[in-house]
């Protein structure tokens, strides 16, 4: 059986009917990691021993008739900003290079309860700040479709792991597009749930009102399965919403009757790559052919989204990262003159350039005399952006457009132009500001063989609708069946 080429559904069936054991599945992925792990650089750490032990336990439970979780035996790559007790959680930063959390994130516990196999911790942009994973202080991750290109970010490691078939699923976090954009670059499915759908307890905070943990998989059904297991109320997260979790994997196959698709005109702006434009237009045609009603929709405040995002995200980030001072955990500088110097030196050593930049912007935006003009203003424009979506969803079920205006850029191409890098988030950022869910599904390839992603957005807690709509498209296409050449 071609284990790593299988979907989560196929693997679950195979393990269920005894074709393969969980240990064999995990071993197969570990073998892939041995073979191609270094090329792709998706993992910061691989837990071979732990994962095989977990897999053996799944096999034991199955053979003794004990009940198994819904993800039993499926290896998952977990972004390294999500706490795993006893396993290093570095956030790809020198600041936390040696940090081993004494506790598990809520999501980690849920994965364990679902009997998933946490096969390794995936690379990311440092503290989730970035759109290419190039800001990782520890390692380079390459796009499995072309190793000279970036995998996207900040969850580039998780996306690349799934894209390169080094794990059957991935867990990432999305603050401004950090799941959807790398999913699009790496040719996999990636979803950002509604804010509050998945607990943030144990997710190392970047921007608290924007961060959400979400799933990666090679297909929509796998994504649905994973989302089902990680979603749900957590009393330890005050922003977690107490709403029952629908059976996403049970309904995902049901197409939506009278689906109304809104095409967001602002997402097809000047900078859009012509291959991307063509693929997405073709994708929308697929919906037409399925009987969906397609209309053009405007989100007029889109042009303010990047500015609004950076003000809010950096302000919150500057506060969330203030705790990294070398006192209670994290890197402490060796040379310093006094207490204040120790703080400043430790942070200077521990943080990379992008992190420093964002902290500086955030501190400035919150500082006395400026916070009304910057931070507060950002919060107000945010409401207008949300209002745009509320108005749009009165007339359509889902919004559609490219996940990113371009396919994966080259490694090194944008790293010296932070503003340009920020602007590549234009299609994904608004969803985080508004708190609504979004998914990226493979929708084609550029002329030089790089994946292109279709993004769908829906109203709050409409993940089920989103997944069904995504599956409608996926069923008619074969993009999601393609694999990078070496895998």
């Amino acid at each position: 059986m071609d284990i790593t080429g299988s979907t989560t559904g196929q693997l679950l069936d195979a393990m269920q009917n005894g074709t393969v054991s969980a240990v064999e599945v995990t071993q197969a992925y570990l073998n892939e990691i041995s073979a191609h792990g270094e090329t792709v650089g998706a993992f910061l750490s691989v837990d071979s021993e732990g994962s095989l032990t977990q897999a053996a336990e799944v096999d034991r439970k199955r053979s003794s008739g004990e009940s198994l979780g819904k993800l039993a035996g499926l290896p998952v790559a977990v972004k390294d900003n999500i706490c795993t007790k006893g396993l290093a959680t570095t956030c790809a930063s020198r600041m936390l290079e040696n940090f081993v959390p004494p506790y598990d994130a809520h999501v980690t516990t849920q994965l364990q309860n679902a009997d998933a196999i946490i096969i390794g911790k995936a690379n990311l942009d440092e503290f989730a700040m970035g759109s290419s994973t190039e800001n990782s202080a520890l390692q380079v991750t390459r796009n499995p479709w072309n190793i000279d290109h970036a995998p996207g970010g900040s969850s580039g490691g998780s996306a690349a792991a799934v894209g390169a078939r080094l794990a059957s699923m991935g867990i990432g976090s999305d603050t401004g597009g950090s799941i959807r954009q790398p999913a699009s670059f790496c040719g996999v499915v990636g979803m950002k749930p509604t804010y509050g759908r998945v607990s943030r307890y144990g997710l190392v905070a970047f921007a608290s009102s924007l961060d959400q943990i979400g799933p990666f998989a090679t297909d929509v059904t796998g994504t649905a399965r994973l989302l089902e297991s990680i979603a749900g109320y957590d009393v330890r997260d005050s922003t977690s919403v107490d709403r029952p979790v629908p059976g996403y994997s049970a309904t995902v196959e049901q197409p939506l009757e009278n689906l109304r698709v809104g095409v967001v005109s602002e997402f097809f702006g000047e900078g859009i790559d012509s291959d991307v434009d063509a693929s997405i237009r073709a994708a929308i045609d697929v919906y037409r052919s399925l009987g969906a009603e397609v209309s053009e929709v405007s989100l007029p405040h889109t042009r303010y989204a990047v500015a609004t995002y950076y003000l809010i995200a950096c302000s919150e980030a500057s506060s969330n990262l203030a705790r990294y001072d070398g006192v209670h955990y994290g890197r402490r500088a060796e040379q310093f003159e006094n207490m204040i110097d120790m703080y400043a030196a430790s942070r200077a050593e521990g943080f990379g350039a992008e992190v420093k930049r964002r902290i500086m912007l955030g501190v400035f935006a919150l500082s006395e005399g400026y916070s009304d003009q910057y931070y507060l203003k950002g919060l107000k424009v945010r409401r207008l952006i949300r209002n745009d979506f509320d108005a749009a969803f009165e007339n359509v079920d889902v919004l559609a457009g490219p996940t990113c205006p371009t396919p994966a850029f080259k490694i090194g191409e944008l790293v010296d132009d932070p503003l340009q890098m920020y602007l590549s988030d234009i299609c994904t950022i608004s969803a985080n500001l508004a708190g609504i869910p979004g998914v990226s599904v493979p929708a084609g390839f550029s002329s030089n063989g790089l994946p292109i992603g279709l993004q769908l957005l829906a109203g709050p807690f409409e993940e089920e609708k989103l997944l069904r709509a995504a599956r409608m498209f996926e069923r008619e296409t074969v993009w999601h069946t393609k694999r990078p050449s070496f895998s």
């Binding site: 905070a205 997260d237 506060s319 705790r323």
Partner: protein
């Protein structure tokens, strides 16, 4: 030189919850066992998140009601950002622009003048406490030690307007605040343990040539006791007077100064000023959601409140006829003491009687035995029964004391003393005043008939009612206790009718 001291106080009290404000670690004073009451949340580990303790909010809202503060139907939490090793998140979760309560007051009566004033409160808000930083005492510049046990403890910050006009008033304000908060069981307000802390803002208004000149404000910190607060403010006022006479600096001429109180030396000392006033960069904490409370919910909390000390004092004076002094003595001893008094009063029906017994007989026993009222073996209901018998005229006060002594003896011996024990003791010791009018009659007849009393009898018959005294005494002795007033009337009636 004419001046008015202008004093404002900022008080922090730790709330009596079982667990911390944002996590389940125990809320216990534990200085000897560092870093054992901590968890990812209060250590501020990456990925941790705060969740509000409902009881802390309820206690806060109760407190606000007792302090006559307005309660906000909508309130939220903000991050106050600064760096210090005892602040692991590098921000304190506090309240900035929408505190849960604002605009209140506390009444203060100064012992020296008997004058009552109102000290207005600007606001009270709820925030988390920081940990403890301990410097290397050796002076050799060694590492400081950080203990996070206390991090995340719920703190109520109460800020007064600068309405206080003397060191005495400041002390009394704190004492009243402490009494009140202990009454409503919100905090134990122990300055030594740090569950109540106070900073004072002091300046002067100098009155000169019809002008009122404010001097620079000084913040005085490190105040560890009520006496310390009073002494520090006294000292600071004197120091500021001298400073004015020397430099004549007005408010705004220099930045706000911070001084620490050195209790041993009895003086304030300058603390190294911060170069810039701290920019706390307040913004709403995105990890916590706002809190809404309806008026009905406030009413429900209000219904659980006990009577406050000030109101209790007033009602003792106006309803029970106690003196101001006695009322204060009883109320100021704490809620359990006043509750004891209330129960005794309700059983015996005479507040003054109850007050006398509590402040004298009971207090003496408490002092001798070095116990609090809660540990006193004679329950309020039992003492109340004794006093009730006195009030009804069934026994004399002297007999009452004998019963009291016997009750104590019995409980010291290990017996249970109840209201029934009172009857038993009275009966056993024949302490009951004779009520039998027949018996009284016979005794009166005997005394009147006694030759030795002939002169007195003659006098009473003749209208000299004062002469009846010795006759009454004899009858009382004969009866071993009776209602003196009744006996007197009986004798007079018999002799004058």
């Amino acid at each position: 030189m004419e001046f008015t001291p202008i004093i404002g106080l900022e008080v922090h009290v730790q709330l009596l919850t079982k667990s911390k404000l944002f996590c389940g670690c125990p809320n216990l004073f534990n200085p000897d066992n560092p870093n054992v009451q901590t968890c990812p949340v209060c250590i501020g580990l990456p990925g941790s998140l705060p969740v509000m303790n409902q009881e802390a909010l309820r206690l806060s809202q109760k407190t606000a009601m007792a302090l006559n503060l307005n309660l906000a139907n909508f309130t939220k939490w903000d991050r106050k950002q600064y760096y210090y090793p005892d602040l692991p998140k590098a921000y304190q979760i506090s309240q900035f622009d929408l505190p849960f309560s604002y605009d209140g007051w506390v009444e203060v009566t100064l012992p020296s003048s008997g004058e009552t004033t109102k000290v207005r409160l600007i606001r009270a808000h709820l925030e988390e406490d920081a940990g403890k930083n301990m410097h290397d005492e050796s002076g050799r510049g060694g590492d400081s030690k950080v203990d996070l046990n206390r991090t995340g403890t719920p703190l109520l910050e109460i800020v007064s307007e600068p309405d206080i006009r003397s060191a005495e008033e400041a002390r009394v304000f704190l004492e009243e605040l402490r009494l009140l908060l202990r009454y409503i069981e919100v905090s134990d307000c122990n300055m030594q343990e740090g569950s109540m802390r106070c900073d004072a803002n002091v300046n002067l208004h100098v009155h000169e040539d019809g002008e009122k000149i404010p001097t620079p404000i000084v913040e005085v910190k490190n105040l560890n006791s009520f006496r310390g607060v009073e002494a520090a403010i006294e000292h600071e006022i004197k120091r500021q007077i001298k400073a004015w006479e020397t430099d004549r600096k007005r408010i705004g001429d220099v930045p706000k100064e911070t001084r620490g109180w050195d209790a041993d030396r009895g003086q304030t000392f300058g603390q190294r000023g911060k170069e810039d006033a701290a920019d706390y960069r307040y913004f709403p904490d995105p990890d916590l959601v706002p809190v809404t409370t309806t008026d009905e919910q406030f009413d429900a909390i209000r219904a659980t409140l006990c009577v406050f000390p000030a109101d209790r004092r007033n009602s003792y004076v106006s309803d029970l006829g106690l003196s101001d002094y006695d009322a204060s003595v009883i109320v100021d001893q704490g809620r359990e003491y006043a509750d004891y008094f209330d129960e005794v009063t309700s059983v015996c029906g005479d507040g003054k009687q109850a007050a006398n017994w509590l402040t004298q007989d009971v207090q003496r026993e408490l002092n001798d035995r070095k116990i609090e009222i809660a540990e006193f073996s004679i329950l309020a209901s039992v003492l109340g029964t004794v006093l009730q018998k006195i009030v009804k005229g069934e026994i004399t006060i002297k007999s009452g004391r004998a019963v009291f002594t016997e009750l104590l003896a019995q409980s010291d011996d290990g017996s249970d003393v109840t209201a029934n024990s009172v009857d038993t003791i009275i009966a056993d010791k024949g302490l009951g005043k004779v009520q039998d009018t027949g018996k009284i009659d016979i005794a009166i007849q005997a005394v009147i008939g006694n030759e030795r009393n002939a002169k007195a009898v003659e006098d009473v018959r003749g209208g000299k009612q004062q002469a009846v005294g010795p006759l009454i005494g004899q009858v009382m002795r004969e009866l071993k206790g009776a209602d003196a007033g009744y006996v007197r009337q009986m004798i007079i009636d018999k002799l004058t009718s």
